[in-house]
């Protein structure tokens, strides 16, 4: 197998434009798996991914293709995650490729993620092959889509392939285009090993299974490897390729894509972006852009039933094995009892973890308002990092508060510039640069992380009709005028509802919060006062009136069964409530904090 007969590529697309269908077609056409099996879209293998229509973990598969020139090519299809929370993972997966198929729905045309993915692929210096899919649809407008490709993407629309992944029309040409248009990988098999980790997962028998793209050198079982970011060394146990099942091979060499195992105990020890080299003959330089994927957002996870605490801890342990960007440690809340402070990349990551805990581990959870990690300089001169607002020292002990800022890039068509600047201003963004790229703009802002973790991306998509893309990375901590906003239920502060906000936004936020809480807290036997306060000063108040009437008028004879069942159903609903003091607070109340 020579480098000249290898192609590494990924498929990128707006959601539902047919990425998974095309991947299945390519697999079937190259005999990688039979057509029947291909019915299941193999690449999006987690249920959650399929439901949300997003890819969370990257996947990869090797296709063997005999091209029209008669030669057999190895095509490595590297799938990428599809959300801003995972943009770093996307960038690493793309860095493992030389080219990308950009799928565009012939009926929908270019959409937001088409553009965002296009920019990501451009950033990774990939050769982009535009593919117009769904030409079988009655509403398909192939010519219009070609024009869009030319005008919006600055690619040659006439060179776009027109296919129907659903019926297989034109798909053989896609394989030919991969061979003809995407350049083969470059690299020196004799040079010291240099491999990029672009994904990993945990296997209970083999430990961490690491997905690698080799740019130089070769690796075989028994080789002693060095991880450049943490200087750990391991002995390689197995190397292999994905067919898509894992299949061991004798060797992986420059330009190839595959996996290796080396008794790596936790996937966190070989993180995405890591450079692997030979221990005895290390490569000179690691891959640029390595980021230690660190949690950015923190929230408390509490079992609704206290008795589920141990089960929750076991489940968190299991998830952490497979998810290096996820962290947790025990914490206690006056309101919620025993739980865990968990760290996530972003909100989607948080929701995914929560859903997996509820679905795969059958746990009922309260998730508290997410917070970023603040830096506190106390009057005693100590520096503390606080990721739970309730742990903030009293104001008289705080010398200075600092909050994390991120550097962000927004790509968007120029027509949305005004709206984007306005949004950025609302979110305390600091403008850094503006450049025109193709037919759009790339604007850089610095934002307080707290302003963008919650709904910024959604708002950005909405004001740009979905066209803007967004990417960010941590920049630094900056002093900020922050206050702790407490929520009181009948006069008792509920620590799990406290948030840290900028002073200028405290009033507005407090007001919105108590209004939302009033809507979700059900009526109780007594009136419930909901207050937002800064220190001892109440800035907003709402009241949930006491229950007036909750009674079954008639209850006789056979109706008893029906009435009992109605009450039993209500009782099921009550299981989603957490008692805070005397007030029963539904699960969603805690998340209300972030949606107001």
């Amino acid at each position: 197998m020579t480098l000249a007969r290898t192609r590494n590529f990924s498929i990128v697309a707006h959601i539902d434009h047919g990425k998974s269908t095309l991947a299945d077609r390519l697999l079937a056409l190259t005999g990688t798996m039979d057509a029947k099996k291909a019915v299941d879209q193999v690449l999006d293998s987690m249920d959650l991914e399929r439901e949300r229509g997003i890819t969370i973990k990257a996947h990869t598969v090797r296709l063997l293709y005999r091209a029209r020139d008669g030669a057999e090519y190895t095509l490595n299809l590297i799938d990428t995650p599809g959300h801003v929370d995972f943009s770093y993972e996307v960038s690493r997966a793309l860095a493992a490729c030389e080219g990308a198929l950009l799928i565009i729905d012939a009926a929908q045309g270019i959409e937001a993620q088409t553009l965002a993915n296009y920019y990501l692929a451009l950033d990774a210096n990939l050769t982009i092959v535009p593919v117009i899919n769904k030409i079988d649809l009655p509403a398909a407008d192939v010519e219009g889509t070609r024009n869009q490709i030319t005008e919006i993407l600055d690619l040659d629309g006439d060179e776009a392939l027109a296919i129907s992944a659903k019926y297989g029309t034109g798909v053989p040409d896609v394989l030919e285009a991969i061979v003809a248009r995407i350049p083969p990988p470059q690299g020196d098999p004799e040079a010291p090993l240099k491999a990029l980790v672009f994904d990993s997962f945990y296997d209970s028998y083999q430990g961490g299974v690491v997905y690698v793209r080799l740019t130089d050198g070769r690796v075989r079982p028994g080789a002693r490897i060095l991880l450049m970011s943490n200087s750990r060394t391991y002995d390689v146990q197995q190397v292999g390729v994905f067919t898509p099942e894992m299949r061991p091979v004798d060797e992986l060499s420059a330009g190839q894509v595959g996996y290796l195992t080396a008794s790596i105990k936790r996937v966190a020890d070989a993180k995405v972006g890591e450079t692997i080299t030979e221990a005895a003959r290390p490569t000179a330089e690691a891959f640029p852009g390595y980021r230690d994927a660190k949690p950015m957002v923190f929230a408390g996870l509490y079992p609704i039933e206290d008795t589920d605490y141990e089960a929750l801890r076991d489940a968190l342990e299991k998830l952490r094995l497979n998810d290096p960007a996820f962290s947790f440690e025990p914490e206690t809340s006056l309101a919620l009892g025993y739980g865990f402070r968990c760290g996530f990349l972003g909100l989607l990551h948080m929701e995914i973890v929560q859903e997996r805990l509820e679905r795969e581990f059958n746990l009922s959870l309260i998730v508290t308002a997410p917070s970023v990690r603040y830096k506190v300089v106390t009057t005693a001169g100590e520096v503390q990092e606080i990721d739970n607002p309730s742990k903030l020292p009293t104001p008289d002990r705080i010398e200075r508060l600092e909050e994390p800022y991120v550097r962000s890039s927004i790509f968007a068509p120029t027509e949305f510039m005004t709206a984007i600047y306005k949004l950025a201003q609302d979110k305390r963004g600091e403008h850094r640069s503006l450049e025109y790229v193709g037919r759009g703009v790339r604007i850089q802002f610095d934002f307080p992380l707290a302003e963008i973790v919650i709904d910024f991306y959604d708002k950005l998509k909405s004001i740009s009709r979905g066209y803007a893309s967004f990417d960010y990375e941590f920049a630094n901590f900056r002093p900020s005028d922050l206050v702790k906003l407490d929520i009181l239920l009948n006069g008792d502060s509920v620590d799990a509802l406290s948030i840290i906000v900028h002073r200028d936004k405290a009033y507005e936020k407090g007001k919105a919060l108590v209004e939302k809480l009033r809507a979700v807290i059900p009526r109780q036997l007594f009136e419930v006062a909901i207050q937002a306060a800064i220190g001892s000063r109440v800035i907003a108040r709402e009241t949930v009136k006491a229950m007036g009437k909750n009674v079954t008028a008639k209850c006789y004879g056979g109706d008893i069964t029906r009435k009992r069942k109605l009450l039993e159903r209500q009782k099921e609903g009550k299981k989603r409530m957490k008692q805070v003091g005397k007030v029963e607070v539904p699960q969603e109340a805690f998340l209300t904090v972030l949606k107001s």
Partner: protein, 428 residues
């Protein structure tokens, strides 16, 4: 949880109608469910042969489904009045009484109450009621002072009919008047006027009925506080012996439950109506002995108290439900299917469930706490054992004056009645 399963002995072609009562809301029956095993058994008694009463004195409920017109708020099992259907129904009813009396344990029970509910039982002629009661007396021992009630509508009664009922052995009349507002009555789908209601009440008295109850409703669309207090006052002036007052509920099985209805009073007003009645009835010497029921001393409904004490009762008629031992079962609701099954010689039981001890305790609590007598405090203690959080919430009810202990019993207050479902959710 006990399985609620359908058993359709000797017949299963048509599905049971959905509606109130024991609907087949549960998932597919478990293979181990006893009623299912019985479905294949030759016994004409179905699940009732597989249980036995715990007590000796039982109530007997008779469902008479026919109505001249179905009221818009009604979710009970009714059928349009039809002379032929009525005749067939009466035949089937007699078969059912006969079949029930051949249950293996039938000889051990005595009937303490008989209740004709509906539907509109007062569409039955006096001799029809007499025949049914005679059949019951032939087949079952009946206690000497048994309470025998008939639900009546003002438009289908007369002094003569009441006299006939009395001669047949009926000693309690429950008169459904619902409202005394002549603009409101037709909006409820009622066929009588306020005057008709008054006349019916007077006819019952004139016929010598010494125990007459009146049903009224509040929370009705367009009913204001003055209208309600006026109606309550007028009804109290008639000096009935018993009063049932129901806050309107839009049940799924009613026309209004499906279509909705405009002009419903706000919750605050409904609560005021509840209290206005409670105050006025108490002032007239009535005891508020159940959430929706008031009685002069000695005039509580004995039959309905059987339900609230979670005691046992037999039943006959379409959709009628019995509770014997740990089994609650309900008859087929469609009148033709009810009749067909009996004509083939089998009890028309369509649904049944066997209560677990835990469910029984839950029901005893939520039914008993509907009454002013409440429940033995020990039942509550048993339910709350080992659950300090729940115990704490129930303690709050006491502190708030909604629940009170008197000696060895615990009961809801009148304020507690009004929010009782919130407590019952805790106790199930």
């Amino acid at each position: 949880m006990a399985t609620l399963s359908r058993s359709q002995p000797e017949l299963g072609a048509r599905p049971a109608a959905a509606g109130t009562g024991l609907t087949g809301a549960s998932p597919a029956p478990r293979p181990t469910s006893p009623p299912n095993v019985l479905a294949a058994a030759p016994s004409p008694h179905g699940v009732l042969a597989e249980t036995a009463p715990a007590g000796r004195e039982l109530g007997f409920y008779i469902h008479m489904p026919f109505c001249a017109k179905r009221c818009y708020y009604c979710s009970f099992n009714t059928a349009p009045m039809d002379a032929g259907a009525m005749l067939r129904y009466l035949g089937a009813l007699h078969r059912e009484v006969e079949l029930l009396s051949t249950l293996p344990w039938a000889g051990d029970v005595t009937l303490a109450t008989v209740f004709f509910g509906g539907g509109t039982p007062s569409l039955l002629a006096a001799d029809e009621v007499a025949e049914i009661l005679a059949a019951l007396r032939t087949r079952f021992p009946v206690v000497a002072d048994a309470e025998v009630s008939v639900e009546c509508n003002p438009e289908s009664v007369s002094r003569e009919k009441f006299e006939g009922y009395r001669q047949a052995g009926v000693n309690r009349i429950s008169l459904g008047i619902q409202s005394l507002d002549d603009t409101l009555l037709p909006r409820l789908g009622r066929l009588h006027s306020a005057r008709d209601a008054r006349a019916a009440f007077e006819a019952a008295r004139a016929a010598g009925c010494a125990n007459v109850s009146v049903d009224i409703m509040y929370g009705l669309p367009g009913l204001d506080l003055a209208g309600w207090t006026g109606a309550v006052q007028r009804v109290l002036d008639w000096q009935p012996d018993h009063l049932s007052a129901y806050g309107l509920t839009l049940d799924a099985g009613s026309l209004w439950g499906v279509t909705g209805v405009a002009g419903l009073p706000p919750e605050g007003l409904v609560v005021e109506q509840y209290w206005a009645l409670a105050r006025a009835a108490t002032a007239h010497g009535f005891e508020h002995y159940e959430v929706s029921n008031y009685a002069r001393p000695g005039f509580r409904s004995r039959h309905n108290q059987i339900y609230w004490r979670a005691a046992e009762y037999l039943a006959a008629g379409p959709g009628a439900c019995a509770f014997v031992g740990d089994v609650r079962c309900g008859n087929a609701k469609p009148v033709p299917r009810y009749c067909e099954t009996l004509e083939r010689g089998a009890l028309p039981i369509a649904e049944s469930e066997r209560l677990t001890p835990r469910q029984r305790l839950g029901e005893r609590l939520i039914l008993g706490l509907r009454t002013a007598d409440g429940v033995p405090a020990g039942w509550l203690t048993e339910r709350l054992a080992g659950d300090p959080a729940r115990q704490g919430r129930v303690d709050d009810w006491e502190r708030a004056g909604l629940l009170a202990r008197t000696g060895a019993r615990v009961a809801l207050s009148e304020a507690g009645f009004l929010v009782s479902d919130a407590l019952f959710v805790e106790l199930l």
